[in-house]
């Protein structure tokens, strides 16, 4: 997919839309944070109408900006999310754990897409084919795709222990970095924050694209892991 059309960055009237990109990126990040927070806190048995509307508006807002500023991949993914969320807010579908999971995964994919655009489009495009298929299936009242959504990392992530119910495991990708050692203290900084979770460097913490990769899991219950 041509993820960003240069032509859409300028208008017939000579308007350079790139001057609005930074505001869009910041705003999209806030919308994704809000959406994630609400999805993680949603009561599936009694989802509030205003909550569902608010989650919809987050995706809708990102979609509108992405479409306007030419970020086609972001617009495509948020469009599918919007389709599912619209059915939820209209009570045409009831929210289910797989829907929440796939929407959270989509939020992560969107962050990766936006980060890539902020970085001038460098790096490998985020593969969202499976994720898009899952969202479409759920919006059609079917089960999600069997395979999990693609990670934002350029190479496959190693197998990790599944997170307990109600918790999430994340793969953290930091970079590309101007200087590879810019994130050397990442593991130490993370471990200094009590109860944030567990972190494990992957592939020695650095790959050829000058990125750091780490797996972040839920906090353990072992008192010995605490750093007071």
């Amino acid at each position: 997919m041509n993820t960003h059309t240069q032509e859409t960055a300028k208008a017939d009237a000579g308007l350079d839309l790139s001057q609005f990109y930074q505001v869009f990126f910041e705003e999209a990040g806030e919308n994704l944070d809000t959406m994630e927070k609400m999805l993680l806190g949603i009561d599936l048995a009694a989802a509030d109408d205003e909550e569902l509307n608010a989650i919809f508006r987050c995706a809708h807002s990102v979609k509108g900006g992405a479409a306007t500023f030419g970020f086609a991949d972001v617009a495509a993914l948020t469009h599918q999310m919007e389709t599912l969320l619209d059915k939820l807010r209209r009570h045409e579908l009831e929210p289910t754990p797989p829907m929440v999971d796939v929407l959270l995964q989509a939020g992560d994919a969107l962050r990766a897409q936006l980060a890539r655009h902020q970085n001038g489009g460098q790096g490998q495009a985020v593969d969202t084919e499976v994720l898009l298929g899952s969202i479409r299936a759920l919006a059609a009242g079917q089960a999600a795709a069997a395979t999990p959504a693609a990670s934002a990392a350029p190479s496959p992530a190693p197998a990790a222990a599944p997170a307990p119910a109600g918790k999430r495991a994340l793969e953290l990708l930091v970079g590309p970095l101007d200087t590879p050692d810019a994130a050397d203290n990442l593991i130490e900084l993370f471990n200094e924050i009590v109860d944030l979770g567990s972190i494990e460097a992957l592939d020695g913490g650095q790959d050829l694209a000058a990125t750091h990769r780490a797996h972040i899991g839920p906090a353990t219950d072992h008192p010995g892991d605490r750093h007071d």
Binding site: L15, F20, V23, G64
Partner: protein, 120 residues
């Protein structure tokens, strides 16, 4: 100079629309949602209202309905600018009193052209 009330809960869209309109010679006042827009509309005059649809507190169709009930805005052009394109939504906009419906993403030159045709 004509004054336009530009309503959108997205800061980047508000900035872009305002920049486009000011470049075309319009005076622009921004509002962050329908409720903010109605408060501003009640306290000053506008030649046209340009509003997004999906916003918190009061959406574009709700704002249109309220403005049409206000003596000052019975005939003021109200354009709804949104990614929504369903016939159902457009009909709801018309029923509320909207003058026109433009779909995002939009061509800034086309927006100015449409405004030029409807502004009083």
């Amino acid at each position: 100079m004509h004054s336009i009330l530009a309503v959108d809960d997205s800061a980047s869209m508000r900035q872009m629309v305002s920049f486009t309109l000011r470049n075309a010679g319009f005076n622009v006042v921004e509002a962050v949602d329908g409720q903010d827009a109605y408060a501003k509309a009640s306290s000053r005059d506008f030649n046209l209202v340009l509003t997004d649809q999906n916003m918190p507190r009061l959406d574009g169709i709700g704002l249109t309905r309220k403005l049409r009930e206000h003596p000052k805005f019975k005939t003021t052009p109200i354009l709804i600018l949104t990614t929504e394109s369903s016939d159902q939504m457009k009909q709801a906009g018309r029923a509320a009193g909207a003058t026109g419906w433009m779909v995002k993403p939009f061509d800034p030159a086309k927006l100015i052209e449409v405004i030029g045709k409807v502004i009083r």
